[in-house]
Symmetry: D2
Subunit: 363 residues, 4 copies
């Protein structure tokens, strides 16, 4: 499994299991001179942290991040930044009910098929907790992007069949579901209460918007802005789909509707509409970047389920313990993190696109 | 733009513009000993070739592929396989109407923003013709996968709002739209005729199914089976979204419905349902891999459109010439190619997962 | 500085400065099922540790390695192995004499030129202490190679102008210089005592021999066995050269002498001589792999030296503190580590060379 | 063998065998806006071309390079540059004497061990002719570097035991050996005539000097300037060693001698000596970069040699045909090419080192 490194220039490598000594990430290729301290990172960590509301898991993990290297006198040095989140709660637990079982909807069977062996404690590497390292790294990328005026905001667009419709961005911090629509958030809460009562879980949709991105970012033909983001976002556990701009609706549209006309506005090229979601031919097109990701319902449910164990026997399990009935609100900050990491990498990659700017840099 | 290389072990690098001397691909890391000749590749090329039906562009490109290296005495040697498709039709044309214009829905503006300069002939590198190199490389990957019993089939699931519903797989080769539903294909044809009459274009959806894939393929946490495929597919021009299994519908589902129960069948682990689309936690789960990609309508339409030129003036253009009113039927084979390339790479990557198989290999 | 990741399949990422909270490495792509514990790694760490003899720096660092992830029930799981060496001695020191000075022979000026800013404490990232993370990772690679019967041994071939001549391999653990020649080790010790007395330092040569390597390892044309090792070894601080087999002497030889004749021995292909040092055309050739690396004298010397500071003033410094008069004995284990990491990666890469073995793996 | 791609940002992929349809290279990541035509590249190709003097092979290959893509209206576009050298002489030849034989000093055995199968015609991928693709790519990199005032010059420092001693740089273009010392060149010629008469071959040393390189280039800790160059140069066939600055002599030196003192000269930091060869701690140090590479004698000699065949029989062969008695003069331009490619990549990588320059780029 050498898939734990992401990025080309701004490169991250994550490590750690849910129930080991800790988790962490090494950021290599972060430019020197960015002001950075642990509080900058902790702010994002706290948004991901479970237990902040009744729909998050009840474990109080702390998720306290520590900068181990790469920062000196308050600034990044250009050398690798190692961030560690020590697990505070490593009590030996009883996993006898799941250690040899392939839980439906989980990675258990894949791990076993690949390695003939797995760390079954809390899902090991496939635990949602793995994303805490991504969030820590993403917080550093966001600090860099902020210096360039690039801002990333994700929020909950749908929970089950309840969709945010009357969008009010300020509202998203007012409810624990990060939904930018007060009425929808209330309906969604009711839906979740119902799911909990039924020992069930539910899926949802996260939308993400990036503002301030200059045009021309993305490296065709494989490392396009949208293809790179698709990989980044689809690597988050529980994602089942991604779409940019009109997305799947574009598949039903006509070209005369879907094409966004360009026009001049005070000397700046703008688009009348944004069906493209800010990406054309793999490059950013100057408009806001907009995409949505679909998350499946949490696979851990307390209802009895049929499955098999690694002895090849048909069995029945019910997964006890404290599990989120929904991953979406906590996924919001993970989507932002993966977006920040991807855009940062492409922003740095873009710097060598033209000989004139290279000459200017070295003159 | 160093984004023209794709893959880690089975690695391809594509090159070429629509109206230059030719296009091509170098495949590096293809195992030795695979029987390969130009006809093997040409078969896929011909499926992508424009002009095979009235909905494809009328240019007769030929798309004749030539193996330049890496094959000796009918077998791959393990060294790089260079495939070239020489452009046969390089007549000097008149591009004066588009050379300084940013066509709506196209990559023109992105190219200009990044490089301050572009090869405007036929869209240059962002032309649909770029995908011919992917198809050529994909044909080689498919030969390899066939040796392992892995089969990839894509087809048209929807054109505009016409969806294939009564699926009959044999039917998909009977109509020029690659639609596995005769009645739907006829309705879709009528829709396309209407679009052509209106100087308009239309989008659609391609579904892809992979059979024979063993469980455990994929390299978490970033190079998962689904995240890797998402990048591969979303790097095809005109894609706007991708979803696996139930996809966006999973976002509306409950866990008790979405989870696929495992059961034993003659000593083999199977799943009762396949809401996951064959991927769990980033690993293949032994079921068929199923995903869908949304394609936007062809941006080149003959209707007049408002846009700007690179002098910063508001203008109006109508894009003349022969353009497909829909990209989907030709995209079918490109989706198969990118899927084959991605799975081949992950299949080879998976071989070093366990010390016992490494010891066996070297004993 | 995104150069902190090394390897393609067996991939390491190191982090940490000499005087920060610690150093570490993440190993990604280590196969599952290898028995591993902290003692396995500590054994190599202790060989690199300073202060083990009078020619090593006197700081008692401890260099205690901790496994943070990737090992469960005593075996590697296939997920990233994070190793951390916490710095025990982080007392605030007085660096006022070197914080703005470019020490001759050091990386100080390069850091300043690149980043306009550096962590001057103990050399930061360019400290010899950086290699401790390499040694930790190398110990894991060696465990893997041992399972395949591949063994790596490095030793001191020369210190200054004193060369090991009557080679006795058992002898190299009997003297603190790791020299496989008792008489030479005594002469070298005298030379070092003299250097210390003169407030000076001295260079040397490390030779490395790999046994048990099968033929055909290496990935031409760029990732050859020798080119890959050249990069690995030359990335160790203070190296100034590397040569394989006859090396620079081969440049003075005739082909009739330099070519190694093959012959059959009990059904096995062998070579009469080993001028090649076990590598031909970038592949291992079945003979022992042999190379030598030249190390310059430690740049930190107590003698006064002329240099400049970052205000652009000519100044004079003498570098106080406890510095090794020679890096070679401690470099021996680092050379072994980088060799192990490189060979492991190429050994895993080699597994996808032929379709017949891929078919066998998946059948 | 997926080792045919080199570089991170400025990335090349080579392909082609000695006796197939041709050879070539795809350059991905070349910045847009560089003036480039086929003559620019041909000039370097002609320097490498065999048959230019009596010590080169007599085949008249032509080595005519063709630009297939990536250049429009005389300038690079930022998209992949595909360069092809079509083989003009593909006559079917008689290889029956070598097709199943492992020639001493060649890659034959390694190929067979890895792939159980090889293209035996003219050495296939391990032919010296493979370097023509490197030279073509290197010519493009040199054009870029020239825009930044960086110049690369290699020359023959030694042939056998004849060393260039009274260096006169203008002289190197006056003799077919590229030796910057007239008297040495004459002695070396006599030595080569003797070798030819004896059906033998001889080795030599190439030195390379890079001027104009700014300080701070190189990406520690693995992608250092010297480690990256070591890999690049050692990947050229027939190299057996590389050393920077004083190289192996540094291993015999004292620190007080080996350290280069810095001093100020008209506001610029300079060094009194250049024992380091222009690289300290993996970064360029502002002085000329200087390194030497050792090349072994050509392994193809007409003398009878003992070896084995792939049936496992001891045999004797003499390798007929026209072979250079020495590779060094033709290697000179290959060394320059690999140096140019490596430095270009590191120069581009360096652009994202500091947040202040990133902000300036995007403002």
């Amino acid at each position: 499994m050498s898939g734990s490194t992401y990025g080309n220039i701004f490169k991250i490598t994550t490590w750690g299991e849910s129930h080991g000594k800790g988790l962490g990430v090494v950021i290599d290729g972060c430019p020197a001179g960015i002001f950075l301290n642990e509080e900058d990172i902790q702010a994002d960590m706290d948004r991901r942290k479970p237990g902040v509301n009744k729909y998050g898991t009840k474990r109080q993990e702390g998720d306290k991040v520590e900068i181990m290297s790469g920062v000196f006198e308050g600034k990044t040095t250009g050398t690798p930044i190692s961030l560690v989140i020590f697990n505070q709660d490593q009590r030996s637990k009883d996993y006898s009910n799941i250690c040899d079982v392939f839980r439906p909807g989980h990675a258990d069977y894949g791990f076993e098929a690949k390695y003939c062996f797995r760390d079954y404690r809390g899902g090991g590497r496939s635990s949602g907790r793995e994303t805490s390292a991504r969030v820590a790294a993403g917080a550093v990328a966001r600090k860099l992007l902020k210096e360039l005026g690039i801002d990333i905001n994700a929020y909950t667009m749908a929970i089950g069949n309840v969709k945010a419709e009357n969008i009010d961005m300020t509202e998203r911090f007012n409810n624990p579901l990060y939904m930018p629509d007060k009425a929808a958030a209330e309906k969604a809460s009711a839906l979740l209460d119902e799911a909990i009562k039924n020992c069930d879980s539910i899926g949802g949709i996260v939308e993400c918007k990036v503002t301030g991105l200059p045009a021309g970012i993305g490296e065709p033909v494989f490392d396009k802005l949208d293809s790179s983001l698709a990989k980044a976002i689809m690597s988050i556990g529980a994602t089942k789909g991604i779409e940019f701009g009109d997305g799947f609706i574009a598949a039903e549209s006509c070209g005369s509707y879907n094409n966004d006309n360009f026009y001049m506005s005070d000397g700046i090229i703008k688009k009348e509409t944004n069906h493209s979601g800010g990406v054309l031919g793999g490059f950013s097109d100057g408009a806001d970047l907009v995409f949505r990701a679909a998350f499946k319902p949490t696979p851990s449910i307390a209802q009895p389920q049929k499955t098999v164990n690694n002895k090849g026997e048909d069995i029945e399990i019910s997964i006890k313990g404290r599990h989120d009935p929904i991953v979406v609100p906590r996924a919001v900050v993970v989507v932002e993190a993966m977006t920040a990491l991807t855009i940062t990498d492409l922003i740095l990659m873009n710097m060598s696109a033209r000989i004139d700017s290279i000459k200017k840099f070295y003159s």
